[in-house]
């Protein structure tokens, strides 16, 4: 809804952070991103048409403590002020960088010509047009929405019991808002608003059917928010992620192994660990670990195509999931693998190879264990299996039709009596009781996470964040597709949850964890702290010096846009 309006801000790359000036040839290269590839290749961010420059020559990075340059295996090498750059070498304003025979000087963006002036005017124009919605307004809208539904539930059920969980939810949401603003100095809440909208809808649906479930869901939401905040802190420094990633990989695999060893088989898949009153699905949390491992790569700007280690890890994860008969999650991991592999390598051959290998593996598995295929035989003709494998789907279709656009009312539905209605069939339950509009809106919001991720990736501080955001959003969208299209018989029913909405504590908490990846790609997430910690006279860029007060404000905005 309104959250999307605020997503329409101008693209960051429209104005330069700094510039590189080739004084010999009088060419000015604007540096637009936090990580820029330099080379002769057409896809380089800074393309230098000089035969002595390699296709992938170097990468110019911005970190919180300044600009750096790193050689990415060039033939002629990189020299900063005459010294050959080894590893990551700091570059200061005025330094000369020699790549082959080309000599580039790092300059502030406002030092040079009318370029930035023009951009500045363009920015002011864009600012006049843009309408942003503040976080408090968004959360207020969600509060109204939730309270409205709560009132409906109270009227329909003639009982005040269903008010507890929604009120708890609203409280949690505003506490999160207050804490985020005061202690983390965050200013934007679009992404969180989307997730709260979905989580709140899920909690409302649970509270009218099974109050205990709604409390579980609420507790999971709190846990999820804690994970979310922890993750945002943890991945703030990419180097920390690099250091930990192998430990995370092994830990996650160990968790899956443990599930196989001591796991419990509930509803056809051995993917639960039961600890007293708490039962968790470790595979949900492994999703977070998987994106850590996949996105954290030391290859600067995906110039290398070495995916061997990652493919190995992915194969192990998917294999273990298949052993657990958790095919839905296995497919999600595979889809996420494809996204990460492509984002990292840009190599279609790898993708085609992986898909072919997977297809072969499926054929082998099906020929060895044909009963697995029987689980999916109803797909496409659910009405013929109305009392068996197609039972959940036909009920979803029947009761979705009964709901119309506005629903039959909370707690008045009949799909609630069908097995797994609050988890696997939650899309149908929402359609029946809340109406097709709200159900589809939930679906669209999940798709919106992807569009959000896509909108922020080029402004993120590192490709690590970009890839992590895209793959996390891709994972959520793919999972939503499996869930929604599974119950309406467009895809086979695999029994995965609808992110944020479905009942399931592990799923809820893990989804918030995944959300952190998308949030971290948005540079505004960390910007306020940087504006404070980075001294104004630091030479990491050229914004802070200007006589025009409005202009200064503008550069500040670039960091701390509200």
């Amino acid at each position: 809804m309104t959250a999307f309006i605020s997503l329409r801000y101008g693209r960051r790359e429209k104005h330069a952070l700094v510039t590189l000036e080739d004084t010999d040839r009088e060419i000015l290269y604007p540096v637009l991103f936090w990580e820029n590839s330099i080379g002769r290749s057409r896809t380089s961010d800074i393309r230098i048409k000089d035969p002595t420059v390699s296709r992938e020559h170097a990468v110019l990075l911005r970190r919180s403590n300044g600009w750096f340059i790193a050689d990415t295996g060039s033939k002629a090498g990189v020299y900063v002020n005459g010294q050959q750059a080894q590893g990551r070498t700091p570059v200061y304003i005025g330094d000369q960088i020699r790549l082959g025979l080309s000599v580039l000087t790092l300059r502030r963006a406002d030092d040079t010509t009318a370029y930035s002036e023009r951009e500045y005017l363009r920015y002011k124009e864009a600012k006049r047009e843009s309408r942003t919605v503040t976080g408090s307004v968004l959360l207020m809208l969600i509060t109204v929405y939730i309270l409205f539904l709560t009132a409906e539930a109270v009227l329909n059920m003639n009982s005040f019991a269903p008010v507890i969980a929604p009120l708890g939810f609203v409280t949690v949401m505003w506490i999160f808002y207050a804490v985020s603003r005061r202690f983390f100095k965050r200013r934007c809440f679009e992404l969180e608003a989307l997730a709260f909208l979905l989580s709140g809808t899920g909690i409302i649906l649970n509270t009218v059917h099974d109050q205990r479930q709604s409390f579980v869901q609420l507790a999971a939401l709190v846990l999820g928010i804690i994970i979310y905040c922890f993750m945002l802190w943890f991945i703030e420094v990419p180097d920390r992620v690099m250091k930990w990633r192998w430990l995370i990989a092994v830990g996650a695999l160990g968790m899956l192994g443990l599930t196989i060893a001591i796991g419990t088989n509930l509803n056809g898949a051995k993917n639960w660990i039961v600890l007293g009153p708490v039962s968790i699905q470790p595979a949900e949390f492994v999703k977070i670990a998987y994106i850590f491992i996949g996105a954290s790569t030391l290859d600067y700007l995906q110039t290398r195509k070495n995916l061997f280690g990652f493919i190995l890890v992915s194969g192990m994860y998917v294999g273990v999931l298949v052993l657990m008969s958790d095919f839905g999650t296995a497919v999600i991991f595979f889809a996420t693998f494809l996204v990460i592999a492509f984002m990292r390598s840009g190599d279609f051959k790898t993708i085609i190879l992986a898909v072919t290998a997977a297809a072969l593996a499926i054929i082998v598995v099906l020929s060895v264990k044909p009963y697995i295929a029987a689980r999916f035989q109803a797909w496409g003709h659910v009405w013929e299996y109305a009392t068996e494998e197609g039972y959940q789907q036909i009920n979803t279709l029947i009761y979705s039709s009964s709901g119309g656009l506005f629903g039959v009312g909370l707690s008045k539905g009949c799909l609630q009596y069908v097995f797994a209605s609050e988890s696997d069939l939650v899309f149908g339950l929402a359609t029946e009781e809340l109406g097709l509009i709200i159900a589809v809106l939930c679906g669209v919001v999940i798709g919106g996470l992807m569009l959000y991720a896509r909108a922020v990736i080029t402004r993120s501080r590192s490709t690590f964040y970009s890839i992590a955001a895209c793959s996390a959003a891709g994972l959520l969208v793919f999972q939503a597709a499996l869930n929604i299209f599974g119950v309406v018989d467009l895809l086979p029913l695999t029994g995965v949850t609808l992110p944020f909405v479905s009942y399931g504590g592990s799923s809820m908490a893990a989804c918030w964890g995944l959300l952190a990846f998308i949030k971290s790609a948005d540079e505004r997430t960390y910007s306020h702290r940087h504006a404070k910690t980075v001294p104004a006279d630091d030479d990491d860029d050229g914004y802070e010096r200007s006589d025009d007060p409005d202009y200064t404000d503008y550069t500040e905005q670039a960091y701390t846009r509200i």
């Binding site: 700007l301 996204v339 492509f342 984002m343």
Partner: protein, 469 residues
Amino acid sequence: MKRTRTRSIMVVLLTLAYFAGLIYHIVNLSLHSSEWVSMPQNAHIADSEGLADAGMIYDRNGIVLAQSLNGTRIYNASEAVRRACLHVVGDDSTNISTAVQTIYRSELSGYNFIFGLGQPDFIRTSNNITLTIDAGLQTTALSALGDRKGAVIVYNYKTGEILCMTSTPTYDPQNVPEDIETNDDYEGAYLNRVLSGVYPPGSTFKLVTSAAALEYIPDAENIEYNCTGSDEIGTKEFNCFSVSGLVTMREALAQSCNCYFGFLALRLGGEQMTAQAQKMGFNNCYTIDGAQTAKSIYNVSEANDNELAWSGVGQYTVLSTPINMAIISAAVANGGIPVMPYFIKEIKGATGTLKSGSTSLGSIMMPPDIAQKLYDYMDYTVETNYGKNYFCSSLDICAKTGTAEIDEGIAHAWVTGFSKDEDCPLAFAVVVEHGNSGYGVAIPVATAVLDAAAAASTLHPYSRFRSAP
């Protein structure tokens, strides 16, 4: 970064595919919602509540068959009418899957995709349904069938309107018997046997075998065969009810000689027999106003010679629904192309007419010259074998009976045919379970209904209701 952005198009495509899927789902749901919402599994409407505000159901003459008053469903005042129309109208439950109150429950109660079933009463617009059946004919058919289980279908082969569609056993929808699930007398009471009952067609299937022979064997009508009452086909015996002597096709059909048609089937072979049977509606379901018929079956892929011969006289594993046989008779009467039967004349409400029945043609069953020959043969059969007067005093009927042997118990009695009258063009089929004789049992039932129909047509000529195509 530029590269990352370019590559991220892949996930954007994934998302677009996901959005496309959502749109597909919405479109799909809007197209099928009224069908899905009427499914018998739907607990919202499976009980009488689903009909609390439903519209009226009328027969062709405007007699009210069902209506809702103060939240209850009230059926016609006469118990005989209620019982006779049960399988077409339906009851409060959705147990009779082909009934109007099951298939069109959502239309009756004014369901629409926008509001779903949660529609507030002040904007509810229920629809009324007018059927093509005649309540009078329904009761005539019911009393003619009596206590026997069976089915009667009579429809206008020029317009397609079903005038009578009666199935027994039946029950009173206003007072559903409590022992309906346990009492053997009510066995299969939820089935409309006209649409959903399948029986071995017996000698009525000889119409199909004749059509196949005329289609695939040159000069087939003059093939002669000397029937001695029995013969040996394969290693088993094959027998007739009587000794027909030397017969051609016309005489063989009139005397219903099994041996003649057994040999025809053998000569044609399984492939050609199957081809013709499929043209004539076998191995296929019809959908009539949303009600799907049971599948009539002709499958000789594993039959030996003896069994193939038996299949030629409608035995072996051959099965037919009554409506399928009526459609075959209609095709013969109509020059080889049947007019498809329908029973909904109109669904109309405050928002306009949702559906109105119209004449539609089925696929070609046989060329016109073959239809003409069968027409003559059926005419000849009645004239020489049953007697025109025995059959029906008011209409000129062409027909074929059948006595279908079953594995256990007394044979089923069949008759199918059509009237020659321009003003009263009726095709019909009657099955009486365990009736033992098509001639002795099925024909009197047909006669009673056809006479009543003829009498009704003098008041409201059927030809006037809809013009011929």
